[in-house]
C-alpha cells in the first residue's frame, strides 16, 4: 500500500483545482506573458490526468519563480538558478511524482546554465519550462543571456557586446530528449506542448517566450508567430537530430530578425530516461525510495553487516 495516495488517484480533475482557494495577488504586471504559462499549465495538467497533490512544481527566482505561488500543487520555490538539481533529486526520491521545473532565461540559461546542461545530458524524466522574455524583469530590465546583441540597459549602457545564448541548440547538444518553443500569445499550442512534455519519458525542455510589457516595450509581443508544424514553409523531421539542429539554428536567428518561429523541434523516442538507465545498472530501486520509510516490515540494512572487510 502506498503512503502517497494522491499519486495516480482515479478521478475527474477540474482545472479550478489548480487555482489556490486563497489566491495571492499576482506580482506580475498587467499584460505579462507569465500569465500565459500559468493558464496553459492549469489547462494541461488536468487534461493529462494529473491532480494537484501528485504534482511538484519547482521554481527558481524571478517573476517566473512565482509560478507555484499561483498554481495550487506541491511547490518548491528554491533559489536563483537551482530549480533543476532540487527537482531532479525529488524525482529520483519519488519517481511517481509529476515534476515540473520552471524559471526564467537568466535563471536557467545564465546562473543555472551548468545545471541546465547536466540535467539535459542526464535526461531526467521531468518537464522544464523556461520563461524567456529576453530580459531580467524583476530586477528592472537588465540585459539577460537571451537579450539580443546591442541590447541597452542600465548595466549595459553601450549595448551588449555579447551574442545571445541559443537555448534550443544548447539543449539539443546537451542531450535533452524533447525540445519545443512556444509563446504566451499562443495558448492552445502552449497547452498542447506542455501536455506532450509532461507525457514524455525524459527531459522535456520548453523555451516559452513570455513578453515583458514593462521592460521590453518595443514590440516584443512575439506576434505574429509561426507554428512550424502548421506552416508550409517548414517541414523538418522532429526525430532527426541534424534536421532539428538546422531548424533550431534558423529559429534562433529569426527571432532577432523579428520573426517568431515556434513548435516542436526535437523528439527522441528511443533514448531511455535517466531513471531507466540507473535502474538498468542496478543503482536505483524499482520501488520509489520514499515508500520504504513508511513500510513497517522493511528490514533496514545495518553497518554491522558490513564489518567483515574491517577484520
Amino acid at each position: 500500500m502506498s503512503a502517497f495516495n494522491a499519486i495516480g488517484e482515479e478521478r475527474e480533475i477540474d482545472r479550478d483545482e489548480f487555482t489556490p482557494g486563497n489566491e495571492p495577488q499576482p506580482t506580475w504586471c498587467p499584460g505579462c506573458g507569465d500569465f500565459g504559462v500559468l493558464k496553459a499549465l492549469k489547462q494541461a495538467l488536468p487534461e493529462v490526468g494529473r491532480n494537484p497533490e501528485e504534482v511538484l512544481t519547482v521554481t527558481g527566482i524571478g517573476c517566473s519563480g512565482k509560478l507555484n505561488s499561483y498554481l495550487d500543487s506541491y511547490g518548491f520555490h528554491t533559489i536563483h538558478g537551482r530549480s533543476l538539481p532540487v527537482a531532479r533529486a525529488a524525482k529520483l526520491a519519488n519517481p511517481e511524482l509529476e515534476v515540473v521545473a520552471a524559471g526564467g532565461d537568466g535563471d536557467g540559461y545564465g546562473i543555472g546554465g551548468n545545471h541546465f546542461i547536466h540535467t539535459a545530458r542526464e535526461n531526467h524524466d521531468m518537464t522544464y519550462i523556461v520563461f524567456n522574455n529576453e530580459v531580467f524583469g524583476l530586477t528592472k530590465g537588465q540585459t539577460s543571456p537571451t537579450s539580443p546583441k546591442g541590447h541597452k540597459s542600465k548595466t549595459q549602457p553601450s549595448g551588449s557586446a555579447k551574442t545571445p545564448i541559443r537555448p534550443l541548440s544548447q539543449s539539443l547538444n546537451a542531450g535533452a530528449g524533447y525540445i519545443a518553443r512556444t509563446a504566451a500569445v499562443n495558448p492552445n499550442q502552449a497547452k498542447e506542448i506542455i501536455k506532450e512534455a509532461i507525457e514524455y519519458d525524459g527531459f522535456a525542455h520548453i523555451d516559452f517566450l513570455t513578453q515583458c510589457p514593462t521592460w521590453n516595450k518595443d514590440a516584443k509581443q512575439y506576434v505574429p508567430y509561426v507554428d512550424i508544424q502548421d506552416s508550409d514553409d517548414y517541414d523538418h523531421d522532429i526525430h532527426d537530430r541534424t534536421e532539428a539542429s538546422q531548424m533550431m539554428f534558423e529559429t534562433e536567428n529569426k527571432l532577432y530578425e523579428g520573426e517568431v518561429l515556434t513548435g516542436r523541434y526535437y523528439v527522441d523516442d528511443e533514448s531511455p530516461s535517466y531513471q531507466q538507465e540507473k535502474q538498468a545498472i542496478g543503482e536505483m530501486p524499482d520501488e520509489p525510495l520514499v515508500e520504504r520509510y513508511f513500510d513497517d516490515d522493511y528490514e533496514w540494512e545495518r553497518s554491522y553487516d558490513l564489518l567483515d572487510r574491517h577484520k
Binding site: N5, L56, G75, L92, V290, W300
Partner: protein, 636 residues
C-alpha cells in the same frame, strides 16, 4: 616516550601500494591482539612524491599518533625512476628514506630497498654516521630483487613486510591469512613465496641487536579496523540515509566513495553531479521528497553549498552535510589537515544562521555524532553539519565489533503520515499549514511537515519568508513569529542534548586540577594522551574535547572554565577560531585562555602539547621546539 609500542612507518611514492600494504599489516597487528592507530601523510599527486603511513600498535589503548616512530620501511619512490625528458624528479627517489630520518627515535630500525635506492644517494645522507649517533639499526635489503625472483617488482612491499615481521619477531600467520583473503591464484602464490623468503632470509642473515619488537596484547572481543570516514558513512547508513549527492574533493571523497560503494546494494541512490551547488541542492530535493539524504565536501566545495544550505534553513528541510577540512585558504594544501573552516561552517550563507554543527573528536564519536546529526536534522527540520578534517577522515583505529551492533533508526522525524494529515491544521482554502507560527502550537519551534504526493498535504516551500501555508509574505508580525520560531529550535535542540543524551563533550585528566587544556574535533585523542602524560609527570591537569559547536554547550564550558585558573586552547589553525567562539558564546573567561596553534599541515603530536603546556602554564620559559604559535590570553 614509551617503547612498549611499535610505531611502524612505511614510506614510498604515491601509487607504490603504501595504503593497501599498511592496511593489511595494521590488521595483522590488530589480529595479534594489539590496539592500533594509523596516521596517513601524502602529497597532492597521483604518482610519486613522498608518502607514508604510520601504524602505532601497543598492548594498551592508543588514540593518537605518537611522538616520532621507531621502525622505518623505506621502499623508495619507484615512480621517480625513468624520468621523461621534461620531467625533473631530482632526489625524489630517495625521499622515503631521507625525509623520514629526523623523526626516527633513538634505537630505531631502518629497512630500505637497496634494490631501488642507489648506494651513492644513500652515502650522501651520512646514514652510517647518523645511525651511530642515534643507535639506529640499518638493514639495506634488495626487496626489489626478492620480489622479481617470484613475481613482479611491485610486490616488493610484500618482501618489506616479510623482513619487518622477521625483525619484529612476529608470526606470519595473520599476514598470510589476510593475503589469502585479499588475493588469489598466481598473484597470491607469488606474494606468499616472497613473504616467506624475505622472512626466512632476514632471520638467517642478521644478528638481532635492535630492541624494537612487536608488543604483545590481547583483546576481549573481536575488533574491527575502521577510519573516521567509515564511521561517518556507517552512522549515516544506520540512520536510514539512502541518498547522497556529491562532487569529488579531497578529503571528503572518502565518505562519498564509501557511501557510493554501499548505497546501491541497499536500494539507495548515490549521485555524482556537476558541482557542489547541485550536490547540496539535490540533497535538499531528495529530503524534501521524503528520503533521508546527505551531501558534503571540503572547504572549497562547501563554499559553493552556502546557498542551498540557507534554502534548507529557510524552508526547514532536514539536511545533513559533512565538511572535511583541509589546509586553506583557497586550494591551500589539499591533502593536509587543518581546523580552519570552523567559522566558515558556522556562519556561511546570508541571514541569521540556523544550523547545527558537531565536531567529532574520534572515530567512535564520528559514528555517534553522525547519527545524532540525522536525528536532530529530521526531528527539528534543520541542517546539521559534521565538521572534521583530513586527519580524522583517513586515520584508522581498532574498535570493538559490538560497538556497531545497534538498531537502525530510519524514522523521518517530524513528518506526518496521510492519516495524521487528515487531523492536521489546514487553511480554509485547503492548503496544509506547513509552517505554523503560533508559539503555543510550536513550543519547540517545530511545525510538522508533509511530503509531496501525500493526500491533503500540499503547500509551498519557499526560500522567501512565508505565511503558515507557505505563501510568500513580508508582513512584519508574521516575519517575527516565523523567525522566532525557527530560532527557538536551536534552544530546544540544546535542551534535548543537555537533558536527554549523554554529553557529546569528552572529559579527561584530573577532575580537581586548576589547569586545563581545551580542544575540539580531531585533536582530542592527542590532547588526551598529552594530559595523561602531564598527570603522570606530576602536574595536575584536566582536559575537555568539545564537539557541540552549534548550539554551543554553554553550561558545560562555563562549569569547566570556572573550575580552572587557566586553560590552554589547542587547535589546528592560525586564527584561534574555536577560542573566538568560546569567548563569543560565553562572553567571559578571555583572561584565562591561551591558544596553542599549529598550522604547518601536520597534526599535533602528544609531546608537542606536553611541551606547550609546560611553557605556557607550567612555568617553563623555554622556546617550543615544535612548529607552533602561542596566542596569549586577552590582556596579556
Amino acid at each position: 616516550m614509551t617503547d612498549d609500542e611499535l610505531i611502524w612507518r612505511i614510506a614510498g611514492g604515491s601509487g607504490d601500494g603504501i595504503d593497501s600494504t599498511s592496511q593489511n599489516f595494521a590488521k595483522a597487528l590488530m589480529r595479534s591482539g594489539l590496539d592500533i592507530f594509523t596516521h596517513r601523510h601524502y602529497p597532492s599527486r597521483i604518482r610519486g612524491g613522498h608518502t607514508y603511513v604510520e601504524i602505532r600498535a601497543a598492548g594498551h589503548e592508543v588514540q593518537s599518533r605518537g611522538d616520532g616512530y621507531n621502525f622505518l620501511l623505506a621502499l623508495g619512490d619507484s615512480f621517480a625512476r625513468n624520468p621523461k625528458e621534461e620531467a625533473v624528479y631530482g632526489d625524489e627517489e630517495i625521499k622515503p628514506l631521507s625525509e623520514n630520518l629526523d623523526e626516527l627515535r633513538e634505537g630505531g630500525v631502518i629497512v630500505y630497498d637497496s634494490g631501488l635506492l642507489e648506494d651513492d644517494d644513500v652515502a650522501e645522507l651520512n646514514l652510517e654516521e647518523r645511525a651511530e649517533e642515534n643507535d639506529w639499526h640499518v638493514f639495506p635489503i634488495d626487496l626489489r630483487g626478492m620480489a622479481k625472483e617470484h613475481g613482479r617488482e611491485v610486490m616488493r612491499n610484500t618482501a618489506g613486510v616479510g623482513v619487518t615481521a622477521a625483525l619484529l619477531e612476529m608470526d606470519l600467520d595473520h599476514i598470510e591469512d589476510l593475503m589469502t583473503d585479499a588475493m588469489s591464484g598466481d598473484v597470491l602464490e607469488a606474494n606468499l613465496s616472497i613473504l616467506r623468503d624475505a622472512y626466512e632470509m632476514a632471520q638467517a642473515e642478521y644478528e638481532f641487536e635492535h630492541d624494537v619488537r612487536a608488543p604483545s596484547g590481547e583483546h576481549d572481543e573481536e575488533q574491527v579496523l575502521v577510519s573516521g570516514s567509515n564511521a561517518i558513512a556507517y552512522g549515516a547508513i544506520d540512520e536510514g540515509c539512502r541518498f547522497i549527492a556529491g562532487y569529488p574533493m579531497t578529503p571528503w571523497t572518502d565518505v562519498f566513495t564509501i557511501m557510493t560503494q554501499n548505497l546501491p546494494k541497499m536500494g539507495g541512490i548515490s549521485e555524482q553531479v556537476e558541482d557542489e551547488i547541485a550536490a547540496a541542492a539535490l540533497a535538499v530535493g531528495a529530503s524534501h521528497a521524503g528520503v533521508k539524504a546527505m551531501s558534503g565536501s571540503s572547504g572549497g566545495g562547501f563554499a559553493l553549498m552556502s546557498e542551498p544550505l540557507g534554502l534548507a534553513e529557510m524552508t526547514e528541510t532536514p539536511l545533513v552535510l559533512v565538511e572535511s577540512m583541509r589546509a586553506g585558504p583557497s586550494t591551500g594544501m589539499p591533502t593536509k589537515p587543518e581546523q580552519a573552516d570552523l567559522e566558515h561552517v558556522l556562519y556561511t550563507s546570508q541571514g541569521d544562521s540556523q544550523r547545527v554543527v558537531f565536531a567529532p573528536g574520534n572515530i567512535e564519536e564520528a559514528y555517534d555524532q553522525t547519527r545524532m546529526a540525522f536525528h536532530i536534522a529530521y526531528e527539528y527540520q534543520i541542517p546539521a553539519i559534521l565538521i572534521y578534517d583530513q586527519k580524522l577522515s583517513g586515520e584508522n583505529k581498532n574498535v570493538d565489533e559490538s560497538f556497531f551492533d545497534r538498531e537502525p533508526n530510519p524514522t523521518l522525524g517530524s513528518t506526518l503520515t496521510e492519516e495524521e494529515l487528515q487531523e492536521a491544521a489546514h487553511e480554509a482554502s485547503g492548503k496544509f499549514m506547513r509552517f505554523q507560527s503560533d508559539p503555543d502550537e510550536t513550543e519547540n519551534g517545530v511545525s510538522p511537515r508533509s511530503l509531496p504526493g501525500q493526500k491533503g498535504g500540499r503547500y509551498l516551500a519557499s526560500g522567501n519568508e512565508h505565511w503558515p501555508s507557505g505563501h510568500i509574505a513580508e508582513d512584519p508580525d508574521n516575519r517575527v513569529l516565523q523567525m522566532d520560531r525557527r530560532t527557538r529550535k536551536l534552544d530546544s535542540i540544546r535542551e534535548e542534548l543537555d537533558e536527554e543524551h549523554d554529553s557529546q563533550q569528552t572529559y579527561f585528566g584530573d577532575e580537581s586540577a586548576d589547569l586545563g587544556i581545551i580542544t575540539w574535533g580531531s585533536q582530542q585523542g592527542t590532547v588526551e594522551e598529552a594530559v595523561e602524560r602531564l598527570n603522570d609527570a606530576g602536574h595536575a591537569v584536566k582536559g575537555i574535547g568539545v564537539s557541540d559547536m552549534m548550539p554551543f554547550p554553554d553550561a558545560e564550558l562555563t562549569e569547566f572554565l570556572e573550575s580552572v585558573d587557566e586553560a590552554l586552547v589547542v587547535e589546528m589553525n592560525a586564527s584561534a577560531q574555536f577560542r573566538g567562539l568560546l569567548q563569543k558564546e560565553l562572553g567571559r573567561f578571555g583572561p584565562k585562555l591561551t591558544s596553542m596553534l599549529k598550522y604547518n599541515g601536520n597534526p599535533f603530536e602528544p609531546g608537542e602539547i606536553v611541551e606547550g603546556f609546560q611553557i605556557r602554564l607550567g612555568g617553563d620559559s623555554a622556546e617550543p621546539t615544535a612548529q607552533v604559535r602561542f596566542e596569549p590570553a586577552a590582556g596579556d
